[in-house]
Symmetry: C2
Subunit: 316 residues, 2 copies
């Protein structure tokens, strides 16, 4: 019996991705059946989904291997932000092409991701459409008391940020400008955009000390505002203490960095400093949670204002 | 602080969908955080995802309420096909419009679905794109020994089909022809296309007797072929015993019916007949699993051939 292209593609390119991690992830049945089966009797489970659309979330001409890796990373970043370990991912791909090289590249990007974070693919779906879009589902596990909720911030908490903001924006620009002869730092920026580092172990340890956490996807101001709104509080950021590269405004409002922003009581400062050494991650104390309900950025005590406050898909 | 449209839309239309079913589903944290949290310490979990693209999986002019309901049902059908109970759904929506009425209708379709099957929405994502596409993730629970695998068919199993095939195709045609003054049976066909009935309780009971099961999404021949291929077997269908409406070829090759096709040992016939009465579901014994590795359709012992064997997204 002749099979449809859809199943041929799935069989040829998307079989057994990350199957070596079935046992460590509690995966019992993977792709190929009506559903995948898994088990988690000890911990609670967390699930999140993110969709990446061509021309919106990534440049139209980005190669398919990079599209796949980034779509997986962007989705799985939410598991890190909660303090969970990653169990499995699922991938729904809408394709505008039948081109084998493109599909092979995409599958390779998924392989790169699952091998980096040692997780299996539980399943997925494939459809033809007018534009490429990738919807990734991610499942993680944690003990419920370690879930770092957006709503957990407390008045007077310190606000911390990992890494440097704005680098993904710089990397994206280098990519779209198709710049040649890149310096080492420029290569790092591109890597930051294409392969955001997911700090699972760090965040799991952090979850013992932090009151709230979010990953910086839409820009620090917008994302910290989610914490503030869910916690019925506000925050002030000290522009001199925000770690960034490039322009401050872009660094705070563009997003794409997938660094973590978290809040913790001042009494936890020592423990948090220890995490810097333990995980080799730059952590900057950049602001403070306050009662007044909005997020402000201060430069030497004076508010700084920006034209935009965060990335908005619907502004185009 | 001004928020982005994305979050305003999520807050206005997609808040608290199915929240009344948190407890019964073991959902601990729903939408609004980086991830939703759930727990299942007693049973195993199953997960599947399905993407529905405008103009491919449903007509471009279909109203948004119907798009949403159908996308949820089509995805959740996989949980029924495995023999699971549905725990929660997640929805990634790519929109080509900002129109409030459209979005409100879509949210209403999700509400219709979650209230019909009494499940919560664990989370989702929203993006702007060039075409409407809906990726739905579904999670269910079952005892692992009850998972009806595609690979479970045994030689000489009877092949059964629920309901009538071909009705969704007839309904879809009535919709695309925009036919007025519909008869009662025509209204039922449209309903069959728009709101496939998911037979969760039936399938859970069935899982005690059946060796394999699949939902008929791409047409009986193509879907039974998945069972045969995964089981390293073949099957013959008796065209006079296949329950269908309209033309046989369309009924067997179009799909969209989301009825269940399952196989069971001949010795289980009595138990399966009993399910018909218990659940008021028409069940037809339509064929037999065989050693010879392909699916054939016989009319009075003579093979019937068709131009197409199943729906293929990539044929257009």
């Amino acid at each position: 019996m002749k099979e449809t292209d859809e199943f041929l593609i799935l069989k040829e390119f998307f079989k057994d991705l990350g199957n070596q991690y079935f046992d460590s992830s509690g995966l019992l049945i993977g792709p190929g059946d009506d559903a995948g089966m898994f088990s988690e009797k000890d911990q609670e489970l967390i699930f999140s989904t993110d969709v990446s659309v061509s021309g919106v979330h990534f440049p139209k001409n980005l190669d398919s291997q990079a599209i796949a890796y980034r779509a997986c990373a962007v989705a799985a970043s939410d598991i890190a932000a909660c303090g969970g370990s990653l169990k499995w991912i699922s991938i729904s791909l809408t394709l505008e092409t039948n081109e084998k090289a493109w599909i092979k590249g995409f599958a390779q990007g998924v392989i790169d991701f699952v091998e980096t974070y040692k997780v299996p693919v539980i399943g997925g779906d494939l459809a033809k459409g007018k534009e490429c879009s990738v919807s990734v589902g991610v499942c993680g596990a944690l003990d419920s008391q370690n879930f770092m909720k957006r709503s957990g911030a407390k008045d007077s908490d310190d606000v911390y940020v990992t890494g440097n903001l704005g680098e993904a924006y710089l990397g994206l620009n280098l990519l779209t400008d198709n710049k040649k002869n890149l310096s080492n730092i420029e290569k790092l920026w591109i890597d930051k955009y294409l392969k955001p580092k997911l700090r699972f172990e760090f965040a799991q340890e952090l979850s013992n000390f932090a009151n709230s956490c979010i990953d910086v996807s839409d820009g620090l101001i917008a994302d910290l505002n989610h914490i503030c709104e869910m916690s019925s509080l506000g925050a002030s950021l000290d522009s001199d203490k925000i770690p960034f590269s490039g322009e401050l405004e872009k660094a705070l409002t563009w997003g794409d960095d997938y660094e973590l922003c978290f809040t913790a009581a001042a009494s936890k400062k020592e423990e948090i400093d220890r995490l810097t050494d333990l995980f080799g991650i730059k952590i900057s104390k950049s602001g403070r949670i306050e009662k007044e309900k909005h997020v402000k950025v201060l430069k030497e005590g004076t508010p700084v204002t920006f034209e935009q406050t965060g990335y908005n898909h619907f502004n185009e």
